[in-house]
Symmetry: C2
Subunit: 133 residues, 2 copies
């Protein structure tokens, strides 16, 4: 079962990164899995793709939503999304971990609230699971 | 090669959805692949997961970034991300398609600009590919 639909979504732009990881699918996958673990997330799957001639895209699906990354080695730039629902996971730990590992010298981050509190949604349900009372 | 690092990211919340698709991994996958195609995106991979007892999460990785969805049938709610780089893809087509298919009666959308123009990044590069002149 997924976490509460109320979540935090960090949109991160990492500029002026070191080149070490940016073009390696394996390295970026490891970074993202580690970012998910450190944030306290439960990993349910992942998919990564290396572009020709360069660049990596990938997503870690977690029980609490997802973490995504896209890298542009030609611009020493990576964008990342850390979207986590519920209250047990802290996406900012993942954000800091990625910043440190990518050695980004300039970054921008935004936190957006996703969904809404369960109480506000409690009157809606599929499959006869509506809350009564 | 991935598109320009300058992109649009739509964060969508679909409330009061019909139940038809929300708990079906196959249906949600098809919707998302179709949303990507209709937006003009080039699909490079996808991953979907059905949660127990209910809910689906999934991501379509595209050459222009990604489309992601998380559904909560118990709240008739789905969140979606449509993140597309470059100028050839229109994520709003995907947004409208999902809204229509999910039959959402109430929705919230936000468009966020990601990355930055290539010109501003041109002085940075990995692997000796720096732009000169």
């Amino acid at each position: 079962m997924m976490e509460s639909p109320f979540g935090k979504h960090i949109l991160a732009e990492y500029f002026e990164c070191e080149c070490t990881y940016l073009d390696s699918e394996a390295a970026i996958r490891n970074l993202m899995l580690e970012a998910a673990s450190r944030s306290g997330a439960t990993i349910v799957g992942n998919i990564f793709h290396h572009f020709s001639p360069q660049g990596v895209s990938g997503v870690v699906v977690i029980a609490e939503s997802h973490l995504a990354i896209h890298t542009w080695p030609e611009f020493r730039y990576a964008s990342a999304d850390l979207f986590t629902c519920g209250t047990r996971v802290d996406p900012w730990i993942g954000f800091e971990y990625l910043k440190e590992k990518l050695q980004s010298k300039k970054w921008v981050s935004k936190e957006i609230t996703r969904g809404t509190a369960e109480e506000e949604l409690a009157s809606s349900a599929c499959g006869g699971k509506a809350v009564s009372g």
